[in-house]
């Protein structure tokens, strides 16, 4: 039997109140981030906190799920429910949690190694499944936490601790891959443009289906190739170009640009229904995790009947 041992009175209540937060600061977590000074991830955390605030969400309505990596430390810095799981596994965990309680706003976060390296297959399948999640990848084109090895988004020829003679592998383009794999909201953002990033995150959370946001979030310690100085002059916004988000060809073309111009913004969006909205088991709107357990006598009898 479930026991209810909670004690405490309303006065003891901490930050997470029934009222909506009054400032993005209320989304600050228990711990101060231990990222390196200047790390791009700070910008992402701030933008996420602001986006949640501006959407009027409350901390307890949100679950933020990460893998392992510098970027994956984010849930610890956010005042929402969180899970800091295994390297590469944020998406299946987030999927399970979303399906278990589809009333939660579920956000997955992590790095490029986490999401496109070891976790690449989950991304492909979560995208086609179109689970209603927002996936925020802090893409620094390097393995930060493990002190600087090549990542699936590292540029060709890049010298890293594991490729001291230069990277021979062609980098992944998360945007074109996600579009082709059926993600229904595919965007790119830049940690140093927090306003734009905040907007992109807000729209992603509002989007009903799987959203990928690939954020350039420079690692100032281990990636000296793709730092803020590299991005600053190159970043252009799709919003300034009249890009048509229903045109996959244009989206892919713009996503492939990697020279004097590198685009951020919403590349592609469509309204294919999300899995949770199609799944008949969720027609009864009560989250699965809140439904009564066990078999009714009627269900039990039917089952036994079929065994006779």
């Amino acid at each position: 039997m479930s026991t209810a041992t909670a004690t405490g009175t309303a006065e003891m209540i901490g930050l997470e109140l029934a009222r909506s937060p009054e400032s993005p600061k209320e989304f600050k977590g228990k711990v101060t981030p231990d990222w390196c000074v200047g790390c791009g991830d700070f910008g992402v955390l701030n933008a996420l906190q602001r986006a949640l605030f501006e959407l009027g969400l409350k901390p307890h309505e949100i679950l933020c799920v990460s893998g392992i990596g510098c970027s994956s430390n984010l849930p610890g810095y956010l005042n929402t429910y969180g899970m800091h799981t295994l390297h590469g596994r944020s998406l299946p965990v987030a999927t399970g949690a979303k399906l278990g309680n589809h009333k939660l706003t579920v956000i997955a976060t992590g790095g490029d190694g986490d999401g496109y390296g070891i976790g690449g297959n989950h991304l492909m399948h979560t995208a086609r499944r179109n689970i209603d999640l927002t996936y925020l990848v802090m893409n620094n084109q390097i393995y930060g936490l493990t002190t600087g090895q090549v990542s699936p988004t590292s540029r060709p020829d890049m010298k890293t601790k594991s490729t001291p003679f230069g990277n021979l592998e062609y980098p992944i383009n998360p945007i074109t891959s996600a579009i082709m794999n059926g993600a229904t909201y595919v965007a790119r953002a830049y940690s140093a443009d927090p306003k734009h990033l905040t907007e992109i995150i807000k729209k992603a959370i509002e989007h009903k289906g799987f959203s990928l946001i690939d954020v350039f979030s420079p690692c100032v310690t281990f990636n000296h190739d793709n730092d803020f100085a590299f991005f600053k002059p190159r970043i252009k916004k799709l919003e300034d170009e009249g890009h048509d988000t229903t045109d996959w060809k244009a989206a892919c073309e713009k996503a492939m640009a990697w020279g004097d111009e590198i685009y951020i913004g919403l590349f592609h969006e469509n309204d294919r229904p999300s899995l949770d909205s199609l799944e008949m088991v969720l027609e009864d709107d009560t989250p699965l995790s809140r439904r009564p357990l066990g078999l009714s006598s009627e269900q039990g009898e039917t089952l036994i009947g079929r065994m006779m």
Binding site: A6, L63, H84, T85, P92, V93
Partner: protein, 593 residues
């Protein structure tokens, strides 16, 4: 019909694609409805067409625990079956075959050949599988049952396909029945009727249904024999029982999805076999570290690696024991048959909910794909549900600590969505508040406290698990020890041994973790002679038993050729080991399947 009452085995042999399942199911359901006890074992290969399948249905007027030692009635659907198995039939047993196509070969003394002129009996039927129906008719006559019993069973089986199909089948079966009645001699005593109709299930459906009864709301899987049956049951019942069932890209995704769903508050479960289980191990350790309860099932097949996907073995014990890095808390349990599997699932869920850690259930092909029947009244449809310290309707508490270091080690659990309890769970070592200690200062004292908290919590809950008991005469000459699925064959072997004047008893270990070291050591140390019976080459269980107790058995009976023990294998092993004082006996597998 032996002195001990009815004990009759029917075997149907043929190639994959010859439709063995249909007559097999019809027979089994028919016997089951008549209240006869049965167990069916299907020996098959990992291919879709061809190969060799031998389905054995053993019927008794009391509990059946194994597929037994012999075949009383063999239906050969192809020449290959005849060639393989005629030689192992004993006196008084019967071999049925299509005499148009199959040469009987030389039958051992006393075997009764029953040739069926299928073409003649089938007349102008165009149904390729009609020999199966005709054979059913023949068999009904041979076992001395009224045709009406079969007629009803056929109606039941084919009614979905319409009247014409029913009629054709009834006519053909009747032709077989009549042919047999005129040409063959029935068994001396017709098969009796039991007390009340019995229900029928496989171990896999029992596991799935046990999950449903325990309140599982989320089931994820990646198909893998011999665990796929659980997925199929769940998928079929998803809508009516309100269970979310998902086939995922791989077993890593499965395990992690289950963890996510479990964290959201659902009871969540998954099943796979050794290869898929290998991929789940990292997640199992993660669940333990995050203190998330969920159930992972490993249905063993013959290994290593891809191994023999359609054959049984108890070779994954050490894999399950080592199912992640580090010291991590988890229950491990191995039920002994389908009903036990059904009951174990809710029991395990209660334990993992109380201890907030993963639970691993070990089954094997023998249980999972075996067909058992059971008195429906023994199936507890509303088992106790104890979710432990899960706060379902908590009132906000300003300083909730997800990993509060309580006296019991159990930290009251709140699932995401509740106001006032926001917390972060992590696979990194963490402090009471969930903040990871390696993030700032990996304080060795905090680390030690966390390790000890989790261990204490587990031990507290584990103390409630019942220890194993010795079954049979206390002063037996020999004690047979096994775990999981060998329970049945050992029990039958003990009955047979007692007929031969050897007094044996049995100790079956169901709970692998917690292991009841003291109880087991006491029982075994005072036993006269201990023999371990297991389906593994290296004796994984014998070594585990020793690791937990220091106890070394006197002898071992092991099988690792893919086929399960038959009772006489164990009996012969016991007698040989008693006589020769040898350390090990490997039975010879006579039936080549």
């Amino acid at each position: 019909m032996s002195a001990n009452g009815l004990d009759f085995s029917i075997a149907i042999g043929g190639a994959a694609g010859q439709g063995i399942a249909t007559p097999g199911n019809i027979l089994a359901r028919m016997f089951s409805r008549r209240g006869l006890h049965l167990y069916a074992y299907n020996a098959y290969q990992s291919i879709i067409r061809g190969g060799h399948i031998l389905l054995t249905i053993r019927i008794r007027d009391r509990e059946v625990l194994t597929h037994g030692d012999g075949i009383d009635l063999l239906l050969c659907l192809n020449q290959d079956t005849m060639d393989r198995h005629l030689r192992i039939l004993g006196p008084g047993s019967r071999a049925l075959y299509n005499s148009d196509k199959i040469q009987p070969g030389e039958a051992p003394d006393g075997v009764i050949l029953c040739p069926m002129p299928i073409a003649e009996l089938a007349g102008d039927s165009k149904n390729k599988l009609i020999q199966n129906t005709i054979s059913l008719g023949v068999m009904m006559s041979l076992i001395g049952l009224d045709f009406s019993v079969l007629e009803e069973a056929l109606e039941q089986a084919f009614k979905r396909k319409g009247d014409a199909v029913v009629e054709e089948n009834v006519t053909m079966a009747q032709a077989g029945y009549d042919h047999a009645t005129t040409h063959f001699e029935s068994v001396p005593e017709p098969l009796p009727e039991g007390k009340k109709p019995l229900a029928m299930w496989t171990g896999n459906s029992a596991l799935a249904m046990g999950g449903a009864a325990a309140g599982v709301k989320f089931y994820a899987a990646y198909p893998m024999s011999p665990a796929t049956g659980v997925l199929h049951w769940m998928a079929n019942h998803a809508h009516e029982l309100g269970i979310m069932v998902r086939q995922v890209e791989d077993e890593i995704g499965v395990a992690n999805m289950v963890i996510g769903a479990a964290h959201s508050g659902c009871r969540a479960m998954c099943a796979t076999s050794g290869g898929g289980f290998a991929l789940m191990t990292e997640a199992i350790g993660a669940a333990s570290m995050m203190e998330i309860p969920a159930v992972f099932i490993n249905v063993m097949r013959a290994g290593p690696s891809t191994g023999v996907p359609t054959k049984t073995e108890q070779g994954d014990l050490w894999q399950v024991l080592g199912a992640s890095q580090g010291d991590f808390e988890r229950f491990i349990v191995a039920p002994k048959d389908a009903l036990d599997a059904y009951n174990t699932v809710p029991e395990l869920f209660n334990l993992v909910d109380r201890a907030q850690c993963p639970g691993i259930l070990i089954s094997d092909l023998l249980i999972s794909e075996g067909t058992f029947n059971v008195d429906p009244d023994l199936i507890d449809l509303q088992p106790e549900i104890d979710r432990g310290d899960l706060l379902v309707d908590p009132s906000p508490n300003g300083n909730y600590l997800r990993y509060a270091d309580t006296e019991s080690g159990i930290s009251p659990r709140v699932t995401p969505g509740h106001e006032g309890f926001v917390h972060v769970v992590t696979t990194d070592e963490h402090d009471e508040d969930g903040v990871i200690i390696s993030d700032e200062f990996t304080h060795p004292h905090k680390r030690r406290r966390s390790v000890e908290k989790r261990a204490r919590k587990f031990l507290g809950v584990a103390a409630d698990v019942s220890p194993p008991t010795l079954e049979g005469p206390q002063d037996a000459e020999v004690t047979l020890v096994g775990w999981g699925s060998t329970y049945g064959v050992i029990r039958e072997a003990i009955e047979m041994l007692s007929e031969q004047g050897v007094v044996a008893n049995q100790l079956t270990i169901k709970w692998i973790v917690p292991f009841h070291s003291e109880v087991v050591d006491e029982i075994l140390s005072s036993a006269k002679r201990v023999l371990i019976v297991e389906n593994s080459h290296s004796g994984q269980f014998a070594r585990y038993l020793r690791s937990e107790t220091g106890f070394s058995a006197h002898g071992h009976i092991r099988k690792y050729d893919g086929e399960p023990f038959m009772p006489h294998h164990v009996v012969e092993g016991v007698i040989e080991l008693l006589e020769s004082q040898a350390a090990i006996h490997i039975p010879y597998q006579e039936i080549i399947v």
